[in-house]
Amino acid sequence: MLPRELETRGVLGINARNQRYTLRVNERRFYPLVDDKLASKRMCQEAGIPVPRLLAVAEVHAQAKRLLPQLSGESAFVLKPARGAMGNGILVIEMREGRMLRGSRVVSEEDFIYHAAGIISGLYSLAGHADAAMVEEKLITHPEIAPLAVDGVPDVRVIVYRGIPVMAMMRLPTAASGGRANLHQGALGVGIDLEIGVTTHAMFRGRTIAKHPDNQRALVGVAIPSFDEVLTTAVSAAGRSGLGYVGADVVIDARLGPSILELNARPGLAIQLANRAGLGPRLDAVDEALGPWERGEPNDLSTEARVALGRAVAHASRPRAA
């Protein structure tokens, strides 16, 4: 039976994720910190965690017109809703010969302001409430993985449970995803061996693939640069957020190194497909190592110890050679 098979492999379903993890260990009062990207950016800055530079903010309609004047001299930037969900409403702009380009399409000033106004009205926000439009610098993909990135900035999604990194995948934008790194919009999910930081499997629209559909480059066996720092950055940010089950999106910037793009209190489950592994056994192993979860549990492990525990957990749940 299919459900039994999946259960043996520890595949986590949405109901189980919500019941056993997000509803249990993510306290509601910490949600605003991750749902509002401006707040999480501030939080990371206070903790000295690298984040992309904030260039401009418009919280009311009148400010939408004043966004562009603040961006003169920038060569690339990203307009996004502060409380958006699932990558909706994100506009990535490259400046070329004084014109704004989204991919290969020219974006007029009116288009830009109109998009910002839509964001402020709450068109893309989680509950449809009024939102803020924020512009931040466009990060520059680390040269070692730049060849894999088409039309956008890849990031590494790390699931951090009770402060322990348990699973990671690289998300590569494709032509199909329009430069966005969200799997449901057609980005690639590439599983990463947590122990060594090397990619293991790749997935596109739910199917396993070996080569990038846009440029045919090999996706498996790629070493993620600065992977240790990717994990420590994710763990530090997740720890600051107060949430017990977080998806931390880390961009490996050519200049800043691993930086936090955003945190997610309800991270998706497709990471299991990208890693061809269920989250269940790893989450259980963390619970076993740390004991039963308590509200506001103490943070007495060092970041390095957390990463080490995460790697040990990942190692323990590896398939044994037959």
Partner: protein, 529 residues
């Protein structure tokens, strides 16, 4: 599932089923209903305004007679005195009297068990002359029955009626002439002579003409006031006639959906003669409306529901509420069933729809319509709004004004459908429906945004799934048995809540999870603990 969820869910289900079982087995409340056998609940509501002078309101009340058995009459008097008067000629009149203040609302509610009445014309004579009391009352001229008018005499001569020896033929000829040669025009004249001159008139006018002609031709006849009871709709006030032949009164109606020598089972007789259904004296204004509701139970079962043997159940019976409240509750109590369906779709199957409760609201609003028509209507409204949304994109309007403009379009398209429905004599499209316009507007916006961000295919797919979910929920809101069960046994709502608690605590896979992760099940390379 966690133990507390299991237990709380079980408690709710057990409580609901327990009360349900008690009512079914101990108090014999029926479980299933037979379609179209039950009595009607009818309610007359009169609003009257006065200037504190003494006055009265009179209303014709139905009486027991062949074809209708009245029971459970329930008048309210709103500070006035109420009395029933049995008048000569058989009419029952309810009279509310007293000092009429600025506003009074009096109600007269009753149940009536209806059946068809067949009164065939006798095939053979001889036909005796009507007895003196009948002749005195039903052959003469009255202010509204101008029996002696020369035009009436002339018309009778022109018709070359059969002789009195063929009384049935005489009646038939007159009936057929009025039914076929005089047009029925709603809200037009009801004066017999004007109708005769114009060859058209209102239903009441035609019946007055028929009675006038019959009396002039020597056949006793009278006007009957009644209600045409209709399921799920306001009853219509109707006028028809009765003719006296061979010791009995034969009913007939000359209107387009008329009848002869029988009375359909949904025609309730209120009273006879040239009296209005409701009238008032010494008041500033008076207005009235009838409401009716078709029961699916037999009369004895209704009586049991109204006054069960248990005092608590009697207090809690919804059957004691005023009719409009009952009608609303009958629909509202179906919502928990819809909610269970939604939760099954979302948390057990794992389908993505636009708006969590959108399918319920759409199904609720369109419960009067068949499923294909409902879906077509919603699709048409959304299509209009989507086209407009596309056009509005060029104007670059702010979101709330833009959404408001779309809301206006949705309102206009609904209004347009009402017009189309009226002109095509179709069932009144959208009439009397609080259509969820805001929901439709937001739905259109979501479809537009999804198609822009994730492609038209993704948007169409989600729209199709939403439609499919609505299609499976829609029949619930049209099901008479479900309506009866939830209304008669509202404790079943606790069972629904228990099931919702169970599903809320369900940690197993959704069908969508299984589809999504199925490749991990048989993959030897996949990790296993």
């Amino acid at each position: 599932m966690s133990r507390p969820a299991l237990i709380v869910g079980a408690l709710l289900v057990v409580f609901g089923l327990g009360v349900f079982a008690l009512k079914v087995f101990r108090y014999d409340i029926p479980l299933v209903v037979a379609e179209g056998v039950g009595p009607w609940q009818v309610e007359l509501r009169v609003n009257v305004r006065g200037s504190n002078a003494r006055g009265s309101v009179r209303a014709l009340l139905p009486a027991n007679e062949p074809g209708q058995a009245i029971f459970d009459e329930n008048p309210t008097s709103d500070r006035l005195e109420f009395a029933v008067r049995e008048q000569e000629g058989g009419n029952r009149t309810g009279v509310w009297s007293g000092a009429i203040g600025p506003i009074h609302e009096v109600v007269y509610a009753f149940h009536v068990q209806m059946s068809a009445v067949e009164v065939p014309l006798p095939a053979t004579g001889p036909y005796l002359d009507p007895p003196a009391p009948i002749a005195a009352l039903y052959l003469g001229q009255t202010p509204v029955l101008p029996v002696a008018a020369p035009e009436v005499r002339k018309q009778l001569e022109a018709l070359e009626l059969p002789t009195m020896k063929d009384l049935p033929g005489r009646i038939r000829t007159l009936f057929q002439w009025v039914a076929n040669e005089v047009d029925t025009v709603e809200r037009s004249n009801d004066d017999a002579l004007l109708v005769l001159a114009n060859k058209y008139g209102s239903e009441s006018g035609k019946e007055h003409l028929l009675v006038t002609l019959l009396r002039a031709a020597g056949v006793p006849a009278r006007i009957v006031h009644g209600l045409e009871l209709r399921a799920d709709a306001t009853p219509r006030e109707r006028t028809f006639s009765e003719v006296w032949i061979a010791e009995r009164w034969v009913p007939m109606s000359t209107s387009a959906d008329g009848f002869f020598a029988r009375r359909p089972p949904n025609f309730l007789v209120l009273g006879r003669g040239s009296v209005p259904n409701v009238e008032a004296t010494a008041v500033v204004s008076v207005g009235h409306r009838y409401r009716s509701l078709r029961e699916h139970l037999r009369a004895d079962e209704i009586a049991n529901l109204l006054t069960p043997d248990n005092a608590v159940f009697e207090q809690l019976s919804f059957y004691r509420l005023p009719l409009p409240t009952q009608a609303a509750l009958r629909v509202l109590l179906l919502i928990p069933l819809g909610a269970v369906m939604i939760v099954l779709f979302r948390n057990v199957i794992g389908v993505r729809t636009y708006g969590t409760f959108m399918p319920i609201l759409i199904s609720l609003a369109l419960r009067e319509f068949s499923l294909p028509r409902s879906l077509a209507l919603v699709a048409a409204v959304i299509l209009f709004a989507l086209l407009l949304r596309r056009a509005l994109e060029f104007l670059r309007l702010l979101m709330v004004p833009r959404l408001s403009i779309m809301l206006c379009t949705v309102v206009l398209s609904v209004a347009g459908f009402a017009l189309v429905g009226d002109s095509t004599q179709n069932a009144p499209l959208f009439a009397g429906v609080l259509f969820p316009m805001v929901i439709l507007t937001m739905l259109t916006e979501r479809i537009f945004i999804t198609s822009a961000e994730e492609g038209v295919r993704a948007a169409a797919l989600t729209a199709a799934i939403s439609g499919a979910v609505a299609a499976t929920i829609h029949p619930i809101f049209q099901n008479a048995h479900a309506e009866y069960l939830m209304f008669t046994f509202p404790e079943l709502t606790f069972c629904a809540m228990g099931v919702l608690v169970w599903i809320g605590g369900y940690t197993g896979y959704r069908v969508s999870d299984l589809l999504r992760f199925r490749s991990l099940a048989h993959d030897p390379g996949a990790e296993a603990p």
